[in-house]
Each structure stands twice: as C-alpha cells, then as structure tokens.
C-alpha cells in the first residue's frame, strides 16, 4: 500500500489549508519538478560560461568553422521526436497498455541513442582535428555545456532501460507509474535544454 487515501484532497468545499496532504503522485511530481529546475539552474551556469567565453578562441578554430548545421538539425529532430514518443509511452502506461508502452519506449531509446551517436561522432571529429576541450576557452566551455547535456541523455537512456525492466517485472503499479511520470518530465526537460543549446551554441555561432 503505497498510496494513502486522503478524503479531502480533491474536495473543493474544504479550504486548501484544511485539506490535508496532497496525494503521493502529486507530491512526487512536484518534488521531481523542483529537482529539474535546480538542474536547469546548473545548466544556466554552463550557458553563462559559454556566453562569456565563446569569443575567446585563443587563435584556434571558431564555432562557425567547426559546426555542421545539417548534423545539428538531425540531432534536434531525433530529440524532438523522441520527446513525442516518450509522451506516448507515458500515455500508454497510464492506460496500462503494455504493448504500446514497450514500442514507444523502444522508439524513444533508438532516437535518444541516435542523438548520442551523432554527438559523439561530432566530438571525436573535433578532437581529431585538434579542436579538443584543451585548445581554447571557447572549446572548454563548448565541451562542458554540450557534454553535460549529452551525459544527461545517456543517464536518461539507462533510466529508460531500468524502467522497462520494472514494467516487465513489477507491472504498472502506482510506484512504477510515478517513476515513469518522473522519467517523462526528465526527458522533456532535456529537450527544452537542447532548444537553448542549438539556438545559442550552433545557430548563434560566429
């Protein structure tokens, strides 16, 4: 028994102050939301560092010479569509539809992995050309910001596999549903951070 029944939680004749604690799924969602916001604040420090250092190329290669816009567009499409399939997975799991949940999770995983592979190819290509993170302040900030986002995507992929194993072994219990909901929020938040990355880093490259 993980969910405590609160008789007044949704009773609107009772004022907010007297309704007692909110249901567990609301509390868990809110707590995870606060974590996401603090994560985004950490990203904002990386964005600030990048904005300050992006012109400090130390005579090395500039962003506009390094970045391939076609690859970035493909990465963006992968992440956007994976956000969509992840949402479908959330809906399917709320409807306790096992088949749809697995297929949507598989699509999310493949698209997320495709994004990571493209990003790693870009990184190794840059390092191979002598534009590694130690070349200039600009490149240090670039690898820190984009690498941190990529690391989050990697953690998300591991989490997704763990969640599918839980769906298989535990089933759609309230606990698993709450965790899937948190994963959904996490994956969508990563896509929001990526909007900032492609706009500031890639499209704004000089």
């Amino acid at each position: 028994m993980t969910v405590i029944h609160h008789s007044h939680a949704n009773d609107h004749s009772v004022p907010y102050a007297k309704r007692g604690p909110a249901p567990t799924n609301v509390l868990v969602g809110y707590g995870f939301w606060l974590y996401l916001l603090s994560d985004i604040i950490m990203f904002s420090a990386m964005f600030a560092a990048y904005a300050v250092l992006s012109s400090h190329t130390a005579g090395g290669p500039k962003g506009i010479d390094l970045f391939v816009k076609g690859d970035v567009l493909l990465e963006t499409v992968f992440l956007l569509v994976s956000s969509f399939t992840c949402g479908i997975m959330g809906l399917a799991s709320a409807a306790k539809n096992r088949n749809h949940t697995y297929w949507a999770a598989l699509a999310t995983f493949v698209l997320g992995a495709g994004f990571l592979i493209l990003e790693l190819q870009e990184f190794s290509h840059m390092v191979h050309e002598g534009a590694g993170p130690s070349r200039s302040a600009f490149l240090s900030a670039f690898f820190a910001l984009v690498g941190l986002h990529g690391l989050h995507v990697f953690v998300g992929l591991v989490w997704l596999v763990v969640m599918m194993l839980q769906v298989k072994t535990i089933g759609f219990s309230d606990m698993v549903q709450r965790r899937l909901n948190c994963f959904n929020l996490f994956w969508h938040a990563l896509d929001i951070v990526w909007i900032g990355v492609f706009t500031i880093v890639y499209l704004g490259a000089k």
Partner: protein, 133 residues
C-alpha cells in the same frame, strides 16, 4: 465569478493528474501531436532564419531568441502539461523562481564580464607594465 470557480472545479475533477500525466489516451495523443507540429515548425523557422539572407542581420539574435522562447513555451504547455489550472499553481510558482535565478546567473555573468573586459588594459599595455616592474 462563481462560473469561473465551477469551471475550475470541473477541470480539477476531470484532470486530477499532476503535470506529465493525462489519463485520456486519445486526447493525450492529440495534444502531443499538436505540440510536435508546433515545435517542428518553430525549429524549422529557427534553422531557416539562421541561414537566410532575407533576415536583417542585426535582428538575428532577437529573432532566434524569440523562436527559442516560443518553442520552450510550446514544450511546457503540450509536453509538460503546465496549465493555468489550480493543480499547476505550485509548479508555476517554482518555475517562475527558476526562470528568475537562470536570468540572474546568465545576464549577471554577461554584464559583469563585459564590464571587466571593457575596463581591462589592452594586452600590450598590460605586458608593458609587467616588464617595467
């Protein structure tokens, strides 16, 4: 006023979900599809505008920023299900505080570092002072 309260109560009862949760499968897929289409249009506009010669160059940063903020809004509403309903109030308050801190960190850093750069001696003069010592 009482109509508004009734409407909100009704909304709350049919959507007892936290952000990220919708119980009606078909309605949910519809909402995600609208979000995907809107986000795709905004992304396409961003990539097109960045390469386009028909956009007045000095306005480019403002245009890209507007498109990005618009797309973030689309993601928040259609993917994260942030709404104006009463069940979202706490999430929106936290979000506002988060946006405030992000703005402080980013714009504060940029303003301070630009100011320091402007007040720093050019590199050759700085080297000159060190040699004279």
């Amino acid at each position: 006023m009482s109509d508004l309260i009734n409407k909100r109560n009704h909304y709350d009862e049919t959507h007892p979900a936290t952000p990220g949760e919708i119980h009606d499968y078909k309605e949910g897929i519809q909402k995600y599809t609208i979000g995907l289409v809107l986000a795709a249009i905004l992304t396409a506009l961003s990539f097109w505008a960045a390469d386009s010669a028909s956009v007045w160059a000095p306005s480019m940063p403002a245009l890209l920023a507007a498109l990005a903020i618009g797309q973030m809004g689309v993601h928040l509403v259609f993917f994260l299900h942030i709404s104006s309903g009463p069940e979202s109030t706490n999430n929106i308050l936290a979000l506002c505080f988060g946006v405030f801190v992000v703005a402080l960190v980013v714009f504060g850093s940029i303003i301070i570092m630009t100011n320091l750069n402007e007040h720093m001696l050019p590199m050759d003069q700085l080297m000159n002072i060190q040699i004279q010592r």
